[in-house]
Structures are given as C-alpha cells and as structure tokens.
C-alpha cells in the first residue's frame, strides 16, 4: 500500500522492490509470520510449551501450496511475461521429480546438489519442446507443449532399461530430503525447506523480469515484430523463457518428490497442467503477485469452500437424482466438486476479471493512493 504523494523520478526507483519504508515493513512482517508459523504447531518450540494454535494439517497444506507456487511462478515467466501458452508444466514437474529421485537414491548424490541438477535437466527437456517456438506460435505452440504432456509421461512410464530404474506405471519411493546430514521428514522441516526455496525462486523471478531478460520477454509478449525491430533475438529469448519456466517446474517437481516420498506418472497428468494454468490466470498472469493470489485462491476453494458447497448440495441432490444411492452420491460429490467449482470460478474470472486478482489488487492500490479522489 503506497500512500499518496510518492512519485518515482527514474527507472530504478520505479522498479524498486521496496519503494517506501511501509513496503519494507510489510515484507518483514509477512516474512516473520511465515517463518514463525510452524513454531506454534504441535511439534514447534512454542507448541511444545503449550501454545499450539497452528494445526499440523495447515503446515502440510502450505507446503503443497509452496510447491505449486514455485511451479506457477515459472509458468508466469512463460505465460505472463513472454506470452507463450504452455499446457505441459506438469510433465516438466514430472521430469524434475524423477531426476531428483533417481539422483538421490540411485546415484547417491546429496539432495542439495541433486535438486539443482534435476532442475537443469528439466530445463533442457523444456528447451527441446521450446524449440517448437522456432516454427510456430500462439495456439500451435500450445499444441506442441500438449505433445510434451503426452510424450514425457509415456517415455518415463515405459522405460525398461538398466541404466536407471524408473518404476514404470507404479512409480518410485523417494528418500526424504537430507541437508548436511539432517533428514527433513516432519511437516515442520518440510515447510521450512519449501518456504526457503520458494522465497529464493520468487526473488530470482522478480529480479529476472526487472533486468534486460525480463524487458526482452515483455517486449516479445507485447509485440514480437516490434521486439525484433528493436534488436531482440526473439527466438533466443523465447527458448530462454521455456528453459527458465522448465527449471522452475523442475525445482517444484524435485521438492514434491521429496515431500510426498512416492511419485508415479499418474500424479502429473494433463489436469494438473491445466489447473496450474487456471490458477495463474485467476491470480493474474504477468503480475509478480499473480501466482501467490492464484495459489491462495485455489487452496481457499479446495480446502474450505468445497466443504461449504458439499453441505448444501448433499441436502438437495438426493431428491433430484433419485436413481442414485445417497452414499454413492456423497462419494461422487467428493470427487466431482473440485473440478466443477474450479471450472466455474475460472469461467467467472475469465468473463468478469480476465486479468486476475492481482489486477484487482492493483486497482485497489491505485484507489488508495488517489484517495480521497478515487472512484474505484
């Protein structure tokens, strides 16, 4: 929240992360909240003293959310800043998860090195499918990434060689992450691991889009012909965007493997890719805060709103769908409500707020800044 009367006089000031002391305060405040949250859970320091108002499940949810966030930040670089549609983010996450799992268990490389290596491997795979942007763009490129979403899981699940074991359709079990001899296997430790990585990756992305690289991406997104006239090597920057986005997916996938402890091809299907795309659009593609809003909104629907909707529907539906038994209907509601609600909210956002929550947040900020003369 920036008060009225703060003006930027040059580019550096305009792009600063902490423009005012208030910005700095809020950053520190949220950092402290995020860092101290697990201490108040049952296994935390204060929790053991009796102050435990943070349930363990919340930590698990936030950990999952953090992993999603990393992947979506990568997608944001590709979709939000470079304007290329990708329907294959889950497949790239899968590459990261499998590489990290194989590297730690079968090649005995420490986790702290395995994760970056897995990320680079994923980046290279992303590069291969990004090469399609040499030939096509827009919708056709989306189809090429859709091909990645089919070819990669097929390749991994049908690999039967001796070089590494990939486990086919059943998947692999993964060791918990181990850093400097400490095994990270409780909710609390996993939360800190994901939190630290997520913050590092987010700052990295924020800085990437503030530099020459990000400006080139934005130029390509806004008008690729004009960007080429400005001397930007369009193809090179597009492929770089694919590379970077896949690296983020790789990191997210690696963390997912070590947090969930089991991975299988079924966990990375096309639905996941589309959901991540949807979350980004709901949150606001092309805004630094977009992925955060998107994930928060998704978790809000997934964990809270669904119970609310189910309680209402379970009273109404049995009288309409008389040919179904009540128990079966309850199970169907459990399975059917998430996609129905997610699809509905995505549709509502696309119609009424296509630029996402982050854009709405910007409008609110502007209104605050112009107060009392604003109308919004």
């Amino acid at each position: 929240m920036r008060p009225s009367g703060v003006y930027s006089t040059d580019y550096i000031e305009d792009q600063a992360i902490w423009r005012t002391r208030v910005d700095y305060f809020w950053t520190v405040f949220f950092a402290v909240v995020a860092l101290s949250l697990p201490l108040f859970s049952a296994s935390g320091v204060f929790g053991e003293l009796g102050v435990r108002f943070v349930p363990e499940t919340l930590l698990g949810i936030l950990t999952d959310g953090g992993i999603l966030l990393i992947s979506i930040v990568g997608l944001n670089l590709l979709l939000g800043y470079t304007g290329q549609i990708s329907l294959g983010q889950a497949a790239f996450m899968m590459v990261g998860a499998y590489s990290s799992a194989v590297l730690t268990r079968q090649a005995s490389i420490p986790f702290i090195f395995a994760l970056p290596i897995a990320a680079v491997v994923t980046g290279l795979v992303g590069l291969v499918f990004g090469l399609a942007s040499l030939r096509v763009k827009g919708f056709y490129l989306a189809m090429a990434t859709l091909a990645a979403q089919f070819i990669i899981p097929w390749a991994i699940s049908s690999y039967r060689g001796d070089f590494v074991r990939l486990g086919g359709d059943t998947g692999l079990t993964v060791d918990p992450a181990r850093i400097l001899g400490i095994e990270l296997n409780t909710n609390l430790e996993e939360y800190y691991l994901v939190l630290v990585v997520a913050i590092v990756m987010w700052i990295l992305a924020r800085n990437m889009v503030r530099t020459r690289l990000g400006r080139a991406w934005i130029a390509i997104r806004d008008n690729d012909l004009a960007a080429e006239q400005l001397g930007i090597n369009v193809f090179r920057y597009k492929v770089l965007a694919f590379f970077m986005s896949a690296i983020y997916a790789g990191v997210a996938g690696g963390l997912l493997a070590h947090v969930r402890r089991t991975i299988s091809p079924a966990a990375f299907d096309i639905t996941e890719s589309i959901e991540m795309l949807g979350m980004l659009v709901i949150g606001g593609a092309g805004f630094p805060l977009g992925p955060l809003f998107g994930v928060a909104f998704f978790l809000f629907i997934e964990r809270w709103f669904i119970d609310f909707a189910r309680d209402i529907l379970i009273d109404i539906l049995p009288s309409i769908l008389t040919f179904r038994e009540r128990e079966a209907l309850e199970a169907s509601l459990l399975a059917g409500l998430p996609p129905l609600l997610f699809g509905s909210f995505l549709a509502i956002f696309l119609i009424f707020q296509p630029r996402g929550l982050a854009y709405r947040w910007m409008i609110i900020q502007a209104a605050w800044r112009l107060r009392p003369f604003s109308k919004a």
Partner: protein, 421 residues
C-alpha cells in the same frame, strides 16, 4: 501370400490392423469435424469436446438403459426442456419477440400486421401456405414434438428413446455452453478463449461425476442379453441372485482365408460406429455445403462482421453451430459407449487423440478432418501392432502432431495463414 511378412509382421495382421484403424478413424473423423466446425464458427479450439462427447454418451446411456418410470425427475425435466426448446426452435427467435407477436397487444404489432398484409395483397397471388405459415409451422411442429415425446416416454424401443434423449440433451448443453461461456468472450484474446473451453471441460467433468459417479457405463447394443443367474429354491421357484453381462456379439468376417490364411474380422460395434459416423459426417457436410443455413454458417465462419452487415443473425448462427457440434459430440460419445465403455479415463481421452488429427488435416478444413481422422486411426492401430498397446494409445498421435507442427504447421488442407516465427 499367406506367409508374407511386412517389417516382421504377417501380412494378414497388417491388413487386419489397418482395417481396424480405418474403422476407429471413422469415429475420429466425426470428433474432428466437431472441433473444426467450432474452430471455424467461433474461432475457438474446443478443448471441452471430449467432455461434451462423454455427457452425450451418458445421456444416451441414461435413456437407453433405464426405463422412464425409473427416473421421473430426469424425464420431466427433459420434457420441460423439450417444450422450451421447441417453442424457441420453431420460432427461431427470442422469447421476447414471441411474446410481442402472440401475446402482447400494443399498437406496433397491429402496425406490423397491417404492413405485412398490405404487402401481401399488393403481391396479389398469395398462397394459402404463405398466408398461414405461422399457424402451419405451429401445428406441424407440435405434432412432431408430440410424436417425439411419445417415443421418449415409451418402453418398447429403447434405442429411439436414447437417441431422442441424447439429441435434446446435447442440443441444450451446446446452447448453454455457447450462451454463458463463449459469447461473453467475443473479441477476447486467444488464451482467454482456450482457457474458457478448458474451464468448460472442468465444469462438465464435475457435473458428470456428481450425476453419474465414477463407474464405467457400457451401452449394451452390441452385446448378447445378460444371463440372469438364479438358484432353485426348495418350493420349486427360483431366486434371482444377479446378472452376468452378455458377451460381445461376434464380429463380421471378410472371407480371406483362402489367400491370407485367416479371415479379416470387422468388429461389430466398430463397423456400425464407422457407418453411423460416416452417415453423420455426410449429413453435416451436406448441411454445410448445400443448404441456406450452411451458407450462412460458412459466411459467419469466414467473417463475422461482414456476415452481420449483410443481415445474417450471427449470434443465432453461432448458437446453432454449437448446438450442432454438441449433437455431433453426443453421437461420437454414444458410439464409443457401444464400442467399449463410457468412463472418465477413455472418452475425453479420445478427443485428446483427435487434436493431432485436426492439426494434421488443417484447422479450417472439413476434408482435413476426414483425412486426418482416418490417418490417425490407422497410425494408432499400426503402432499398436508394431510397438506396443500403450504406445498406440498415448504417444503415436502426438508424435505425428510434433512432426506436423515442425514440417507443415498448417496441416494437409489448412489455410496457410499461420504466423510463422
């Protein structure tokens, strides 16, 4: 001849799999046509097509497999929908106009009537049919709908019941999708439209799961009737303990034993599915190419603004296009239901397999849909023969897709207006 080999597979196998692929490809052409028509009309690549197929097939299943007495709410809801649709459909206009013409009694209506009658009297020779065309349409339409409603609630012809239920249901779904998700996005960027069809897919998926559950449903047209298992009771009667589903009916053989060593078998459901798909494909192509509605639809597809400026009602035409495509999807879904089973893993997946077919044929081309669908069907079956079953299902069509994208992005018959980089 009999022991000849092609790349390590016997000739008879290759021919058998090619023909199976061709038959499967028939279904793919119908799916591809639906995607092409939507792409031409609305300029949207419809990722929700698979779920539209699924819900169409399930509607067919619902009314084919279950007698109407078991599902009063469904039937009554449907009859209400039929009634509303029929009124709107016969008039081809919005409820407001219907109200004004038939029920409201203001001066404007009288003016319009007198204008009309004066014009008709000026023309002199006005036939009976022309004078009373509204009444005649109403009477004929009502009779047709009454026949349809009778067929819909009768118990003796389940296939007719299923066809009518699926037809009406898919039409409604198509109209709803167009009105509430696609139309608000006219003029929005490509990404928004693509995401909207994905969102529609999610919504249909959730709805299907809530209404019909996770269970796979088979449409038992090409199966023997189920056998009823019963155990004899001491008093001489029988107690029913359950039913065993009947086996599939035998395939149609082509007599090639004398020169290939084995008969070529045409699986019954695939053959009928191919026939129905080709019939539906032909009907829709005739509709597009040789009727005034088709002409209007093609004009709209070519240039919406221009079409509107020459007096075509573009929004109505888009609604018609979506309704037609939903019906096509319903037909394809029902065919798939008879061939194997309707489940969330198989049916929407078919649409994903057809995307490569659409791109191979060219996004704007009806011929392309035909050729692309058949080619993908054959490629899929042959890769099942040469590589593995899994490869055929998941990978082969997408390898074709990558090749197409890299070497001929506009497809075989598409228009060369893709933005190349």
């Amino acid at each position: 001849m009999a022991d000849q080999e092609i790349f390590g597979q016997s000739l008879v196998n290759v021919i058998q799999f090619t023909i199976s692929g061709l038959l499967t490809g028939g279904l793919y052409t119908l799916v591809a046509l639906g995607i092409v028509v939507i792409n031409k009309a609305s300029g949207v690549f419809n990722f929700a097509h698979g779920w539209m197929m699924f819900i169409g097939g399930l509607l067919f299943w619902q009314f084919y497999q279950n007698p109407p007495s078991d599902q009063m709410v469904f039937s009554v809801g449907f009859l209400a929908a039929v009634f509303i649709l029929s009124v709107i459909g016969m008039m081809g206009m919005s409820p407001r106009i219907i109200w004004q013409r038939f029920f409201a009694s203001d001066d404007k209506q009288g003016e319009a009537k007198s204008l009309e009658s004066s014009r008709e009297s000026k023309e002199g020779d006005v036939s009976f049919f022309h004078q009373n065309r509204t009444i005649i349409t109403l009477v004929v339409g009502t009779i047709l709908w009454l026949v349809m409603i009778y067929l819909f609630i009768q118990d003796s012809e389940p296939i007719l019941r299923g066809v009518i239920g699926a037809l009406v249901g898919t039409t409604l779904i198509g109209l709803l999708i167009e009105r509430f998700t696609i139309r608000p996005l006219l003029g929005q960027p490509l990404l928004t439209a693509i995401l909207m069809t994905l969102a529609v897919g999610f919504m249909l998926q959730g709805t299907i799961q809530i209404i019909w559950g996770e269970q796979a449903r088979g449409i038992d047209i090409f199966r023997e009737p189920p056998t009823i298992n019963s155990i004899p009771l001491p008093d001489g009667s029988y107690m029913v303990v359950g039913t065993t589903p009947g086996g599939t009916l035998p395939a149609y053989p082509i007599r090639t034993k004398s020169w290939l060593g084995r008969d070529i078998l045409l699986e019954r459901s695939l053959t009928w599915g191919f026939g129905i798909s080709v019939l539906a494909f032909g009907t829709f192509v005739i509709l597009f190419q040789f009727t005034s509605l088709g002409l209007a639809l093609r004009a709209t597809a070519e240039n919406q603004v221009l079409a509107q400026s020459v007096g075509l009602r573009v929004r109505l035409l888009l609604a018609v296009a979506w309704a037609m495509v939903a019906v096509m999807a319903g037909i394809a879904g029902s065919i798939q239901g008879t061939a194997s089973a309707l489940s969330a893993e198989t049916v929407p997946f078919i649409a994903l397999l057809v995307f490569p077919a659409v791109l191979l044929g060219g996004l704007e081309s009806v011929t392309g849909a035909l050729v692309g669908g058949l080619i993908i069907g054959i490629v899929q079956k042959l890769s099942a023969l040469y590589i593995s079953d899994k490869a055929s299902i998941e990978m082969a069509p997408y390898v074709v897709l990558m090749i197409v994208l890299l070497f001929r992005p506009e497809g075989l018959f598409g228009q060369q207006r893709i933005d190349r980089v």
